[in-house]
C-alpha cells in the first residue's frame, strides 16, 4: 500500500467508529476495537515507510520518522485502551450514554492521529486544541462533581496555556517574513529552512513561548497543574489515552521547535531550559508520588515524571539522549496504559480511589494483580523491562556531556526516590491481610488481553533492542540536528 493510502486508512478508521457509534448505537465497542485493530498495523507500516519526510494531500499533512513514531505510540495506546474499554465501560451506570462515550473516544483518537501529521504549524496548533476540546468531555463523562471540576480546570488551564504557543507561532511567522516576504506558508520544513536566517530574537522568543505553551499540554512542571485532576477523574481507558498518547503529541511540537533552534545554531541554552523543566517535573513527580493517597493521581504524577525523563533525553541531546527519549516514549505509552488498566479494574473492584482502602490485592484480583505488579516494577525503571533501558540511555546521555553531569546525578537520585515511593504504595496494597474481599465486579477477559500484551511487550523491549530502531532513531537524531 502506498503511504497516502495508509494515511487515509489511519484517519478514516476512527471516523467510521465515530459515525457508527452515533448512528447505529449498537455494538459500538466492537466497532471501536476493530478500528483500533486496523490502526495499529497501519501505523507500523507508515513508520516503516517513512524513510524521508514527505508532504501529502495538498500540503496539508506531513509525515516524517519522528511523527510516524508518535503516531505508532498513539495507535498502541488506542488499541490497548479499546480492549479494556469493552470491559470497563460495561460497569458504567448509564448504558444509554455509552454510544456517546465511544463516539468521543474514537474522535479523541482521531484528533491524536491528525495533530502529529499536520504540516502547517498553525494547523498543528489547531489539532492540539482539538484534542483538548474532545477530551474535556471524556474527562467529565462520569458527571460527578469531581470529574466536572477536573474537566473545567483542564479546559481553562490548557486553552489558556496553549494560546501562549499561538503567540509564539505568530512571532515565528513574523520572523519568517524577514526572509521570505509577507506571505508564505509556515510548515515544519519551512521553519527548519528559515530558522538560521530569521532574526535571532524572534526565533528565541518564539521557541520559548512555544515551549511554555505546548509544555502545558505535555504536562511539564510547573505547568502540569491540570494533569493530576484530568488524568485521575476520567474513566480509566480515557486516562490511559491522555497519559500514554496525548502527552507525546504535544512533546512532538516541542521537539520540532527545539530542532529549529539547533539548526539555527542557537547553542545549548534552549536545551538547558528543557533540562530545567525536565528536572522540575521529576522533582514534582517524586514529591507527590511519595505522599499520594489517590491511586490514579499517583499514576498521573508518574506521567509528569516520565514526561520529565523524555524532556531530559531531548534536552541532553546527542545520539544517546534522542535514542533514550524516543524509546522512552514508546515504553511509557505501553506501561502507563497497563498501569491505568490495572488501576481502573482495582477501582471498580474496591469501589474507591483511595489506596489505603485497597488491601490484599492478590486475593481481590487473582492473577491479574501479578501482571499489574510487573507493570509497577517496570514503570519505576527496574530491569528487565523496557523503561530500564531507555532511562539508562538518558542517564548516560547526561553523564557523557561534561556540563550536565550533576543533572544526571540528580536524575538518578530522583529515580531512586520515585522507585521507593511508588513501590512502597504497592507493597502496602499487596501484603496479605485480614481485610474482607471487595464486592466489586471482577475484571474479565478483555482486561486480561491488553495487560498480557503490555507486559509481554515491555519485557520484550527490555530484553531485545530491535535493530530497526537503531536505524530509525539515527535518522531522527540526524533530522533533529542532534548529530551532525
Amino acid at each position: 500500500m502506498s503511504a497516502s493510502t495508509l494515511i487515509i486508512v489511519l484517519l478514516a478508521a476512527p471516523l467510521v467508529s465515530v459515525l457508527w457509534s452515533l448512528l447505529v448505537r449498537r455494538a459500538m465497542q466492537w466497532v471501536n476495537l476493530l478500528a483500533a485493530l486496523v490502526c495499529f498495523p497501519v501505523s507500523i507500516l507508515l513508520l516503516i515507510g517513512a524513510t524521508a519526510p514527505r508532504i501529502y494531500f495538498e500540503q496539508m499533512l506531513y509525515v516524517d520518522r519522528i511523527g510516524a513514531w508518535v503516531l505508532m505510540c498513539v495507535a498502541v495506546v488506542y488499541l490497548l485502551a479499546s480492549f479494556f474499554a469493552v470491559d470497563y465501560m460495561r460497569h458504567g451506570e448509564d448504558a444509554r450514554r455509552l454510544p456517546n462515550f465511544y463516539a468521543l473516544f474514537a474522535l479523541f483518537a482521531w484528533t491524536m492521529f491528525a495533530a502529529p501529521m499536520a504540516n502547517m504549524i498553525g494547523v498543528y496548533w489547531i489539532g492540539i486544541e482539538m484534542t483538548t476540546l474532545v477530551s474535556t468531555f471524556l474527562v467529565g463523562y462520569e458527571r460527578r462533581a469531581e470529574s466536572m471540576e477536573a474537566a473545567w480546570k483542564y479546559i481553562i488551564i490548557v486553552s489558556g496555556g496553549i494560546s501562549i504557543a499561538l503567540l509564539g507561532t505568530v512571532l515565528l511567522y513574523w520572523g519568517g517574513t524577514f526572509v521570505l516576504g509577507p506571505t508564505y506558508t509556515l510548515d515544519w520544513s519551512t521553519l527548519d529552512a528559515i530558522a538560521p536566517k530569521m532574526p535571532a530574537v524572534l526565533l528565541q522568543l518564539g521557541f520559548l513561548l512555544a515551549l511554555v505553551g505546548y509544555g502545558v499540554k505535555a504536562g511539564l512542571a510547573p505547568m502540569h497543574t491540570w494533569l493530576p485532576d484530568a488524568h485521575s477523574e476520567g474513566p480509566a481507558p480515557v486516562s490511559a489515552m491522555l497519559s500514554g498518547a496525548l502527552l507525546n503529541c504535544a512533546m512532538l511540537g516541542i521537539v520540532r521547535f527545539l530542532a529549529a533552534t539547533d539548526i539555527a545554531g542557537h547553542g545549548v541554552w534552549p536545551h538547558r531550559i528543557l533540562i530545567a523543566l525536565g528536572v522540575a517535573s521529576l522533582v514534582v513527580g517524586a514529591l507527590f508520588i511519595m505522599r499520594q493517597r489517590g491511586l490514579k493521581r499517583m499514576l498521573a504524577y508518574s506521567s509528569v515524571e516520565h514526561m520529565g525523563v523524555i524532556a531530559l533525553g531531548f534536552g541532553f541531546g546527542g545520539l544517546l539522549g534522542v535514542f533514550g527519549a524516543l524509546y522512552h516514549m514508546l515504553n511509557h505509552s505501553i506501561n502507563k496504559t497497563l498501569m491505568f488498566i490495572g488501576a481502573g479494574s482495582a477501582v471498580h473492584r474496591y469501589g474507591t480511589h483511595d489506596m489505603q482502602q485497597m488491601r490484599n490485592l492478590p486475593v481481590a484480583m487473582p492473577g491479574l494483580a501479578w501482571l499489574w505488579l510487573a507493570g509497577a516494577v517496570a514503570i519505576t525503571g527496574a530491569p528487565p523491562f523496557g523503561l530500564f533501558r531507555s532511562e539508562l540511555s538518558v542517564l548516560m546521555a547526561g553523564w557523557m556531556h561534561g556540563g550536565t553531569r550533576w543533572v544526571a546525578v540528580l536524575f538518578l537520585l530522583l529515580l531512586i526516590v520515585i522507585f521507593i515511593g511508588f513501590l512502597n504504595h504497592f507493597r502496602q496494597m499487596y501484603v496479605p491481610s485480614e481485610a474482607p474481599a471487595p464486592e466489586g465486579p471482577l475484571p474479565g477477559v478483555m482486561t486480561w488481553i491488553p495487560m498480557l500484551l503490555a507486559v509481554a511487550a515491555l519485557l520484550l523491549l527490555g530484553l531485545w533492542w530491535p535493530p530497526l530502531f537503531t536505524l530509525w532513531f539515527g535518522q531522527i537524531a540526524h533530522q533533529l540536528g542532534a548529530v551532525s
Partner: protein, 226 residues
C-alpha cells in the same frame, strides 16, 4: 512589511484602534458586571474587524475583508449573544468573590502594560524597527495577553474565565493583523471556527457545572488538591 510603509493617516488610525482595544481590556478589568465584560469584548472584536478590513485595503489582501466580516459576525455578535444566553440561564450578573479589588486590578494591569512596552521596545531595538505602529502593535498584543491572564487569575465566575481566554486570543488576533497580515487565510478561518467550537464547549460545560457542582464560581472547585 506593510506596517512599515503606511501613510501617516492610516498609521494614526491603526494606532487609535490598537489603543482603543487596549483600553477596552481595562474596562473589563475595572468592572464587576459580567454584562460589561461582554459588551467590552464585543466592541473589542468590532475594532479588530475594522482593523483587518483596513489592513486588507492598505496592503491589498482581499481575503482580510472576509476575515473582517467573520470576526465581526462571530466574535462581535454570535459569541457575545451566546454568552448572554448562558448568563441568563445561570442568573448571574456580577462577580461576587473578587480576589483583587477592581481598582487594584487596574493598577496591576497598568504595570503589565509597562512590561509589555519594555519587551516590545527590546524586540524593536533588536530588529532595528522604530516604526510606531509596529511597536504599538507588539505592546498591545503582549499587554492584552497579560491582562487576559490577570483576568483568569483574579476572577472566579466561569463566564469571566471564558472571557479571559477569549481576550487572550483577541490580543493575538489584533497583533497578528498588523504584524503578519499575510498569514495564510485558511489558518485564520479555522481559528475562528475553533473559537466557536471552544465556546460551545464552554457553554455546555458551564451548564453541567451548574448541574453537578451547583455553582459556577471556581471557589466551589476545591476538591481536587495534592
Amino acid at each position: 512589511m506593510v506596517a512599515l510603509h503606511l501613510s501617516p493617516l492610516l498609521a494614526s488610525i491603526f494606532s487609535l484602534i490598537a489603543i482603543g482595544a487596549l483600553l477596552l481590556s481595562f474596562v473589563m478589568l475595572g468592572s464587576r458586571w459580567l454584562k460589561d465584560y461582554m459588551l467590552a469584548f464585543a466592541v473589542q472584536s468590532w475594532l479588530i474587524a475594522i482593523l483587518s478590513a483596513l489592513m486588507g485595503w492598505a496592503g491589498g489582501y482581499t481575503e482580510l475583508y472576509f476575515v473582517a466580516v467573520l470576526t465581526a459576525l462571530f466574535r462581535g455578535l454570535v459569541l457575545p449573544m451566546m454568552l448572554l444566553w448562558v448568563l441568563k440561564r445561570l442568573h448571574v450578573n456580577r462577580e461576587l468573590h473578587e480576589i483583587v479589588q477592581p481598582s487594584t486590578a487596574l493598577v496591576i494591569g497598568a504595570v503589565l502594560v509597562i512590561f509589555g512596552v519594555v519587551v516590545a521596545y527590546r524586540i524593536g531595538h533588536a530588529l532595528d524597527i522604530e516604526t510606531r505602529v509596529v511597536l504599538l502593535a507588539l505592546t498591545v498584543m503582549l499587554s492584552i495577553k497579560l491582562i487576559g491572564f490577570l483576568m483568569l487569575a483574579i476572577r472566579r465566575e466561569a463566564v469571566s474565565s471564558i472571557l479571559g481566554i477569549l481576550m487572550l486570543e483577541n490580543g493575538i488576533f489584533l497583533g497578528s493583523q498588523i504584524l503578519v497580515p499575510g498569514m495564510p487565510l485558511m489558518i485564520e478561518l479555522v481559528l475562528l471556527f475553533d473559537l466557536l467550537v471552544a465556546v460551545t464547549c464552554f457553554a455546555v460545560l458551564v451548564r453541567y457545572l451548574m448541574a453537578s457542582v451547583g455553582a459556577t464560581g471556581s471557589q466551589a472547585l476545591q476538591k481536587l488538591v495534592g
